[in-house]
Every structure is written in structure tokens, then in C-alpha cells.
């Protein structure tokens, strides 16, 4: 029945259950599944074939370029580089050969000049003979997009000077915030949102290992709502498993848990267009606000409805899309959600009321 990604699934299922046996259950329980099932070596990384391919061959040739990983959250960027260092040096030697700095660490220009530089120029430590252990160290700069331009510039010089004994891996969500001279020295890999099928396979696997009873469609819903973010899907699965307590997890519970706005409610909002008074519309908007539904979510669910809407002609749809776009922009600038939604609803209502010829 489950024919997605079988071979890979077996590998990781195997290793995960092996580790599970060693830990005592009480302690095990406190480990969040996102951490428990973080890939331990690069073969466990789901999807992202391109980068995995390159890294695998770098393990063989012992040659590694500077890397720049970028892409949306929960696609495996941090996991992949951490897994690589483990494959490369073994878990023990990795501690001395890898320097991981992230946005929570102070990374101003002085830290780059001292800490990073000192690490970069230090002599490579003893290797663990069981691993490839190439003769260089790795500096991981996670969340590099929050480093200042000055710090990035300083980094560039260090990168050049010590590249023989130190390789750098920059990881970020927003590649546009990495200065060009730095980015151009790295081999860039874009981490794509995980393809649906592969995400589903991975979540199913974890659900089985953790004995979560899932009804048909539940995992699909989890993955759907996470929009390609595997971290979120796994976290929702774990929280959902607490909720169900013995029952089977179904799509409806998932929708409630992850904050999808009920389809009926969104339909009511759409139904008000063209026929309702301002006061009625105000009431609906207040309902949104009182319910705590995020305005951006309302907007995107309504947008999905409009695209499929049979009663609106293309001109009307186009006009509504323009309204939605400008409201979305205003929202992301921090404008008031209630006023923006009210405006959007009123305009959409007027557009809907216009005679269709």
C-alpha cells in the first residue's frame, strides 16, 4: 500500500528503532520527535537528492567546496550539514573539528576576526581512522542571513586565507541577505520544500515507530497543512498523538490542531459578497478577529476559493486578486488586521455585485 520511498524508508526505520532500544523509555519520552528523528547521517535525509549526491561523493573524494544552503524552514538544511560532519569525522572527532555558530551566538565582526579566525587557522586535530576524516575542519554558520555586512566581509577574507585547512558552510533562509562576494565563493544548494509524497512517507514512518494510530487521510492533512515544512509536520504529529489518546487520528482533528480555518466559515465569508450590508460584513470580520484567526490565513483560504469560484467571471476575479494583493502587502507591513480585512471584504463585495455581462 505504501509504495513511496520504500528503500530509504527501510534504512532509516531500521536505524531509528535501533537507537530507540538503547534509551530508557521515560527519558526517551522527553525528546521531541523533531530531534529524535533528525537524520543522523546523510543517507537518512529525505529528498534533497541533488545535495545529498554531491555530499556523498565528497565523502569519497574527501574534497569539499565551501557550501551555501538556503531555503524555507524545515527542509533539512541544518540536519544535512550536521549529518555530513558526523559521516566525515565520526561523532567524537566532530566535536573538535567542527565549529557551529548560529544567530544566537554573538557574531559581530570582532567574533569573526577572533573566534572564527583562530579556529580556522588552527592545525587540524587527530582523526578518527574509522571515518574519511579529510585534512580540514568545518565552520558552520547557521542562520548566516542575520550576520551584518561587515561581519560577512571579514568572513570572506578568512575563508580565502585558510581554505586549505578550513571549509565553510553557510546556512540560511534568505539567500538575498548574503553578500555577493561571499555567496560567489560557495557552491549553492537550494533546499526545496519537501515533495508531498516523500514528506508523507517520512511522517508515516515516524507515526508507525511511535505507534500513532492514523486514520486514512490524517497524514496527508498533516503534510498538506505544513506546506512542505517537515519540522512542522512532525511536531504536529507529536502533539496530535497526545490529543487522540487511543483513538485514531483523523483529518478533522489535524485541521483543528494546525489552525486551519473551518471551510464552512470561509464559505460564509465568501457568501456575504455582493449581497450583505456593511454591518453584516462588519459582524463577520469581527468574528474572524474574535476567533483569533490570522488575517493572512483568511486571505489565503479565501483566495483559494475565489480561483475555483463559478459565479465570478475572470474580470471580477482579477479585480479581487488585486485587492487581496494590496491587503496582503499592508498586512505584512503590520497594518491592522481588522481594518484590512474589513476593507478587503467590502471591496470584494462591491466587485461581486457589479453586473456580470
Amino acid at each position: 500500500m505504501d509504495f513511496f520511498g520504500r528503500p530509504k524508508a527501510d534504512v532509516s526505520a531500521d536505524s531509528a528503532s535501533k537507537t530507540a532500544k538503547h534509551v530508557d523509555p521515560a527519558k526517551d519520552r522527553a525528546i521531541p520527535w523533531v530531534e529524535k528523528y533528525r537524520p543522523k547521517n546523510i543517507n537518512e535525509v529525505t529528498a534533497q537528492e541533488e545535495v545529498v549526491q554531491v555530499l556523498r561523493s565528497s565523502l569519497e573524494t574527501k574534497n569539499l567546496p565551501h557550501l551555501l544552503f538556503y531555503g524555507p524552514p524545515g527542509t533539512g538544511k541544518t540536519s544535512t550539514i550536521l549529518a555530513l560532519t558526523r559521516d566525515m569525522y565520526g561523532p567524537d572527532a566532530a566535536k573538535t573539528r567542527v565549529l557551529e555558530l548560529n544567530a544566537s551566538d554573538e557574531r559581530g565582526i570582532s567574533v569573526i576576526r577572533e573566534k572564527v579566525k583562530n579556529f580556522a587557522r588552527a592545525v587540524v586535530s587527530q582523526a578518527d581512522p574509522k571515518y574519511p576524516s579529510p585534512p580540514y575542519k568545518i565552520v558552520i554558520l547557521d542562520e548566516a542571513d542575520s550576520m551584518t555586512g561587515d561581519a560577512q566581509a571579514a568572513l570572506r577574507r578568512i575563508m580565502e586565507k585558510y581554505s586549505r585547512i578550513t571549509r565553510f558552510c553557510l546556512v540560511c533562509n534568505y539567500v538575498s541577505r548574503i553578500i555577493e562576494p561571499l555567496a560567489s565563493r560557495c557552491t549553492k544548494f537550494r533546499f526545496k520544500s519537501l515533495p508531498r509524497d516523500q514528506a508523507i512517507a517520512r511522517v508515516k514512518e515516524v507515526a508507525e515507530l511511535e505507534y500513532v494510530n492514523c486514520a486514512d487521510g490524517a497524514v496527508d492533512a498533516l503534510v498538506e497543512c505544513a506546506e512542505g515544512d517537515l519540522r512542522r509536520a512532525m511536531m504536529s504529529l507529536q502533539s496530535a498523538s497526545r490529543m487522540v489518546q487511543g483513538r485514531a487520528l483523523d483529518a478533522e482533528m489535524v485541521a483543528e490542531l494546525v489552525g486551519v480555518i473551518p471551510a464552512d466559515f470561509v464559505k460564509t465569508l465568501r457568501g456575504a459578497w455582493g449581497v450583505s450590508s456593511a454591518q453584516k460584513i462588519r459582524g463577520l470580520v469581527d468574528d474572524v478577529v474574535y476567533s483569533g484567526y490570522p488575517a493572512s490565513r483568511v486571505l489565503s483560504q479565501l483566495h483559494d476559493l475565489v480561483i475555483e469560484d463559478q459565479q465570478l467571471n475572470s474580470l471580477q476575479k482579477a479585480k479581487i486578486a488585486i485587492v487581496m494583493a494590496s491587503v496582503d502587502k499592508a498586512l505584512s507591513d503590520g497594518a491592522d488586521e481588522q481594518l484590512q480585512l474589513f476593507d478587503m471584504m467590502m471591496q470584494a463585495s462591491q466587485i461581486t455585485a457589479q453586473q456580470t455581462v
Binding site: P32, P72, A103, M235, M243, G292, D333, L339, Q340, D343
Partner: protein
């Protein structure tokens, strides 16, 4: 004497009176020992803070309520010293990023690292971690949010974060990705009435049903406000009369006055008069968006149906500008002028 809102705040999850489904869910999470990071969001006065406190109590027991306030000194990268008040128990710390202004990143990072580095004494699995509660997370700077990303993962072994905000709109995606989203809707009008009656019973007073309903709807389903209004009414006159007036905050009455003035006369002289009144509100620290929204809603109620959409649009437009702009009065006044011109034209075109 504590205010009723504080005095009768339910301490335990079992004592919370509405959203029983959510309460049940939180209870399961709290007892499972693997609480994820939480992003608790919902309108003001929906009871988010109370719920968070109840979750803490569910996890750590009554000692989580033993709070102490301490003043702490933080140092910014530029070696400036910051004094910040921190509320904490043995198990958790609460911070309000707006206290730290543009240095919120430093404060939050220092706190999280400190908490992550202290070992927990208790051996039970639920107490393996301490919790950092960040109130008004909407106000967290981008910088601080970016810094939270990996921190939230790295220290998950012995630290959890609970973010509390009115909406998810201002929380960056990567942070949302690391949290379980917990929506706390406003209580319905009936639920607000129920809570008011519980409080009344504890205080040994009684509220006529119609008066209770009036307060509940006047509070705009904001529990915090409803209880403040109830207590204020009680101080003014008790026993309550069925048809007693509900006391609105002064600034709200003032907003009504401004809107009425604009509806009555649309002239430069009137605009000047309104300008003074707007300044008055601003000097009383009423947030500019609240002023604009309050006036706009009154105006919308006051004009003919065919004008309403246009006024809503202008209100949304100027409120947006207000968010990006520097001087609030300029945008407030511009909105009033715009309204007057639209309304005047409309009145002149009437047959």
C-alpha cells in the same frame, strides 16, 4: 487590595471556564512530558496569560506560582548596560521584549542561554526543562526572532519557549515552524457573562442579567475589560439597577465626540478643532491606531450605506500609512480631512 481581574484569576487548568476542548488538549500536552515550544495567540483579553500560567502550574505544581521580581543587568554588544525587570519562579522566567527596546535580542538570548545551562534538580521527566515565557511576542524585533531560530532547537533538551501574541502575523515563518500554534479565541458574550457571575459570587454580589449582558457586549468580548468595567460600576453604584449605564473608558467617549463633530460639520475650522482633540488623546498615550480605528468605526456607523465601503477603505489606507510613518498626528488628521471631503461632496450631491 488587588483588582478583581487579578484576584479571581483561576490558577489551575481545571478551573478555567471556557474553551474546554483547548483546556483538555493543553492538559494532555502538559502531562506528557514532551511539551513542544508554544505560540499562544488570540485577541486581547481572551485569557492567554491565565492559560499559560495554568499550564505552568499543571507542569510544575503550585510552586510555579511563587513569583519573584528581580532587576537584572544586561550588556549590549556596544557595552551599554540595560536594567530589566524579570519575573521568575524556580521553573520559569517571563520577559516582555518591549522593555528592552532595540536590544531585545541580547536580553532574550542571555536569558535562554542562562536557563539552558542551569541543571534541573528535579528528576521527574516533566521537570527536565525550564520555560521562558515571552509576552507580547508581536513586538519582538526581527533580529531577536532570527536569533531564536536555532536557539529553540539547540537548547530543547532543557528549555522550552512559550510565545504569547495577539496574532501570528508578525512572527516570522521559521519561528512559527518551531512552535505548536495554540489559538485562544475570545470568549462569547455568554461566556463573558458566566465569568462575571463567577466573580460576582466570590465577591458576594449579584448582577441583574440585562446589566451583565450589557457589560459583556460593551467589553467587546474582552474578559479583562469586562471585569474592570464590572468593578468600576460596582465602585460607583451598588446594588446595580437593571438599566444602569455601563461606564466606558473616558477616551472612548472622547472618540465618539470627535466622530460626531466630523459628521456634523465639514469645515477647516472644524478640522482645526478636531486636531486639538486628537492631540489630547495622543498626550494621554492612547495608541494612534486605536484612535484611528475607533473614530473610523463610529464614522462608518454614521454614514449612508453607499458611502461605507469608501470610508472603510480610507481608514484602512491611513492606518497602514500610520504604521509605516513617523508622526501619528499627520496621518490621523489626513484621515479626518479625507473623510470630511468625501462626506461633504456626498451631502452636496444629494437632491
Amino acid at each position: 487590595m488587588a483588582l478583581w481581574v487579578e484576584k479571581h484569576r483561576p490558577a489551575a487548568l481545571d478551573k478555567l471556564s471556557f474553551h474546554s476542548g483547548l483546556t483538555e488538549h493543553l492538559k494532555q500536552l502538559a502531562s506528557s512530558g514532551d511539551l513542544p515550544h508554544l505560540l499562544v495567540y488570540g485577541p486581547t483579553g481572551a485569557g492567554k496569560r491565565t492559560r499559560i500560567a495554568a499550564v505552568l502550574r499543571e507542569i510544575y505544581g503550585p510552586s510555579a506560582e511563587k513569583l519573584k521580581v528581580s532587576q537584572r543587568v544586561f550588556e549590549t554588544p556596544s557595552r551599554r548596560k540595560l536594567d530589566i525587570n524579570i519575573i521568575s519562579s524556580n521553573y520559569h522566567i517571563e520577559v516582555n521584549p518591549s522593555d528592552a527596546g532595540i536590544y531585545d535580542r541580547v536580553v532574550i538570548q542571555d536569558l535562554i542561554k542562562e536557563i539552558a545551562q542551569t541543571q534541573q534538580v528535579a528528576a521527574s521527566s516533566a521537570r527536565k526543562f525550564k520555560i521562558v515565557v515571552i509576552h507580547e511576542a508581536d513586538a519582538l524585533s526581527r533580529d531577536a526572532q532570527h536569533a531564536l531560530r536555532r536557539t529553540m532547537e539547540k537548547y530543547m533538551g532543557n528549555m522550552r519557549v512559550i510565545l504569547c501574541s495577539t496574532s501570528t502575523g508578525k512572527i516570522i515563518g521559521p519561528v512559527q515552524s518551531r512552535c505548536l500554534l495554540v489559538r485562544v479565541a475570545a470568549p462569547s458574550v455568554d461566556e463573558v457573562v458566566d465569568v462575571m457571575n463567577i466573580v460576582a459570587k466570590k465577591e458576594g454580589i449579584s448582577i441583574p442579567p440585562s446589566f451583565a449582558a450589557q457589560i459583556a457586549s460593551g467589553s467587546q468580548r474582552n474578559l479583562h475589560r469586562a471585569l474592570l468595567m464590572l468593578e468600576a460600576s460596582y465602585v460607583r453604584q451598588y446594588p446595580f439597577a437593571e438599566a444602569q449605564d455601563v461606564l466606558l473608558p473616558e477616551w472612548e467617549e472622547y472618540i465618539k465626540v470627535i466622530a460626531a463633530a466630523a459628521l456634523k460639520q465639514q469645515t477647516p475650522a472644524q478640522l482645526l478643532a478636531i486636531r486639538k482633540q486628537l492631540y489630547e488623546l495622543l498626550t494621554h498615550c492612547i495608541p494612534p491606531p486605536t484612535i484611528l480605528k475607533g473614530i473610523a468605526m463610529q464614522l462608518i456607523d454614521g454614514v449612508e450605506e453607499e458611502l461605507k465601503a469608501e470610508i472603510v477603505h480610507q481608514a484602512a489606507f491611513y492606518e497602514h500609512r500610520l504604521q509605516n510613518g513617523q508622526k501619528a498626528i499627520v496621518h490621523l488628521e489626513a484621515f479626518m480631512a479625507k473623510f470630511m471631503s468625501i462626506y461633504k461632496r456626498h451631502l452636496m450631491e444629494l437632491p
